[in-house]
Amino acid sequence: MKLTAVQQDALIELLNIGFGRAAASLSQLTGHRVLLAVPEVSVHPVENLSSMLSTVISGDVASVHQIFAGPVAGDALLILDQSGAAMLNELLTNEPSLPLSLDASAREVLTEVGNILLNACLGTFGNLLKVQVSFSVPHLSLEKLGLILSSLRVNQVGMQYALVVHAGFRLRDAEVHGYLVVVLSVPSLDRLLRAVEVWEQTQH
């Protein structure tokens, strides 16, 4: 499955609204000007996710995972490699990170950052679809990428697709890259993409 040019543009535009909201929250929280780069988005079958992401992120990763439920349901994750995660924490809090496994405060900061970004993006989708989506409490884990991805597919039936969004955090003259992954069932994705197309037409 491949996004059409129209779907792609519309998704980027929509995600940008979510990114803007998240960046504003982060700026307000940290007192630094935080920018999120214009998102890049692609769609992949879930079984290809591992090979696709391992070309850009490797080793142990930090991921913030939230489950969302409602008329549209699935998994949402923010994935950063561990050095990127530590750097993001340092940039946001102005404090040196300890190794993340020892630094509960840093893990909490990353959880809140993931929470803000995931809520902002999923909230935007929810508004678009005019449905109420509820979110689980975010959960952070430090593990190998493969382990994190395989945990998504437990108890899942039917074809699953992943929306992969590149997210670049920019603050204090530095940049940290991460990936937002939204795993959806085929019906959920169809519904989202149709709504996106309709929305795109009303914009012009």
Partner: protein
């Protein structure tokens, strides 16, 4: 259970009731969809001092208006729209202001992490639930861990720095040794073919100059190695600092004259006498002066001042030279440090001169310092040396060929905690005709010295070990020098000890010993020193 609306259909009660009371290690409160508090657990009541009765039925923002000012009302609105929110301690510090008494820290604001979640029933948000965790301990532990990591990081950097400095030093050393050798070897070979040398005298001058420069370098290196290994012995005598500086000045004058540098001297009239090693202090003065002359451009000025200041003599050398960058100032007296260690540097040298200055001055119990307003604003070095009011140490080195001394009629009190050492000293001194009495502690020695009875042992000379149990030899002598009896106060004293470093020697002399003789002791040396002391009385 807290007094809440318990009507059978109360969705809030059903949703949360089961596990609500079990959480006694964290705060939990529940609001309805109007953000009115419906439950407030015992932990929160205990920590905030607000009971459930007081809180239930009120809007959370009426109870804590600061939540709105801090923008947290948004989080509650989002929770009512179905979003779960994490509030990290790092970003928010706390949710509700709570003061707690923390062991070792005292009263402190409780650090909190919190989460705010929608409370749903049948897919519909009916309220919010807030969990608050006290993370004060965690925050303190992490802060300590961070400080430890920073400290070990600093130690690592220091070690790397030291090893890099040593490498740089070796590179400089190799360069500094080769340069004069090159001249010496080159000119010597040229002299073998006289027709190639227009002026043999000039060649010989160059060879001599370079050989002397190399000698200076080797001496500096050896001095530094002696100081590091504690083998540098000071020949302490009474010296006038002004005289020492003048001799150093005589050596440096030709170099200053060659650069047309004006040298101004201000020697405060009156005594600037101290106890010290004249050669070593001349080396200090020479190093400071030659440093100033080296870094002052032709036509500049160098000013030397010797003055008394409180209990010290202060030597100040200031120049109109290139100055020292602020960031290098703290390292000026460090071994191997040069502001410019690059191959393109303009000045030669090993960077040992100022390190030697500091070491020698510190051996004398003094201190060194440097001030510079920065590059191109000149530099001022200063040295302070303490004026000793203690009994004047006399010529320390005994005559090289000690005349067999006779000590008949001399009563000697020996203090040493080691019985073999006591026996040896007694036998040694009795050989020379002295009467010797030995005790094993400072207290026993003081008892004999302060004895006023008619049949007392009239001590003429005191010999003491420095390492003694209870009261050491330094303290003993300080007490002797403060004794009621003038005879005891002025008692000649010799430290005979295995504490043999220059620092130990200085300490002994400062405490008031006239001599410091390291073990093992040569009987002839000891006898002649005693004979000198008795004769000088």
């Amino acid at each position: 259970m807290a007094a809440v609306n318990q009507s059978p259909g109360d969705i809030l009660g059903l949703a949360a009731g089961r596990w609500f009371e079990e959480l006694d290690d964290r705060g939990v409160f529940i609001t309805d969809e109007h953000l009115v508090v419906r439950r407030w657990n015992a932990w929160l009541a205990a920590q905030t001092g607000n009971s459930a009765q007081e809180m239930i039925g009120q809007r959370i923002f009426d109870l804590y208006p600061a939540l709105v000012e801090r923008g947290i009302d948004t989080y509650y609105r989002e929770a009512l729209a179905g979003e779960s929110r994490i509030l990290s301690e790092r970003f928010h510090k706390f949710l509700l202001p709570i003061t707690r008494n923390f062991h070792g820290v005292g009263q402190t604001d409780m650090a909190q992490s919190a989460r705010i979640e929608p409370l749903t029933a049948d897919g519909k948000v009916v309220g919010t639930i807030t969990l608050i965790e006290d993370v004060t301990e965690r925050v303190i532990t992490e802060r300590e861990l961070r400080a430890q990591i920073a400290a070990s990081e600093q130690a690592r950097r220091f070690a790397e720095d030291t090893s890099r400095l040593k490498d740089e030093f070796l590179a400089t050393l190799s360069h500094e040794i080769r340069t004069p050798l090159n001249a010496v070897i080159g000119w010597t070979r040229m002299l073998r073919t006289p027709e190639a040398v227009r002026s043999p005298a000039h060649a010989l001058d160059a060879i001599e100059r370079n050989a002397l420069s190399q000698m200076r370098l080797v001496e500096d290196l050896l001095d530094m190695s002696r100081i590091i290994s504690g083998k540098l012995q000071l020949k302490v005598e009474t010296i006038a600092v002004a005289d020492v500086v003048q001799s150093a000045l005589d050596v440096i004058m030709p170099a200053a004259a060659a650069k047309k540098i004006t040298i101004e001297t201000v020697f405060e009239p009156g005594t600037t006498e101290i106890s010290g090693d004249a050669d070593r202090l001349q080396q200090v003065a020479w190093n400071l002066l030659s440093n100033s002359v080296k870094f002052t451009p032709p036509g500049g000025r160098v000013r030397i001042e010797v003055a008394r200041q409180a209990g010290d003599v202060r030597l100040t050398v200031s120049d109109t030279g290139q100055g020292i960058a602020r960031e290098f100032l703290p390292f000026v007296f460090d071994r191997f440090r040069q502001a410019d260690a690059s191959a393109s540097r303009r000045q030669g040298g090993l960077g040992l001169g100022l390190a030697l200055v500091r070491q020698i001055v510190e051996l004398h119990g003094g201190s060194v310092g440097v001030e510079s307003a920065g590059a191109h604003s000149g530099t001022t070095f200063w040295v302070t040396l303490p004026i000793r009011s203690a009994a004047k140490p006399t010529e320390d080195e005994p005559p090289s060929m000690p005349t067999p001394a006779t000590l008949s009629g001399v009563n000697i009190l020996i203090v040493d905690d080691d019985s073999d050492a006591r026996e040896l000293l007694v036998a040694m001194l009795e050989n020379f005709g002295a009467t010797a009495r030995a005790v094993d502690s400072a207290a026993a020695a003081l008892a004999i010295l302060n004895d006023e009875s008619a049949d007392r042992f009239r001590t003429h000379v005191l010999i003491s070990d420095l390492g003694l149990p209870d009261t050491d030899g330094l303290t003993l002598l300080r007490q002797v020098r403060q004794a009621a009896s003038e005879l005891v106060r002025k008692m000649p004293a010799i430290a005979v000890t295995a504490y043999a470093t220059p620092e130990d020697r200085v300490r002994a002399l400062v405490a008031g010993y006239q001599h410091h003789i390291p073990k093992p002791v040569d009987g002839n040396v000891l006898a002649s020193v005693i004979a000198h002391l008795v004769a000088a009385k």
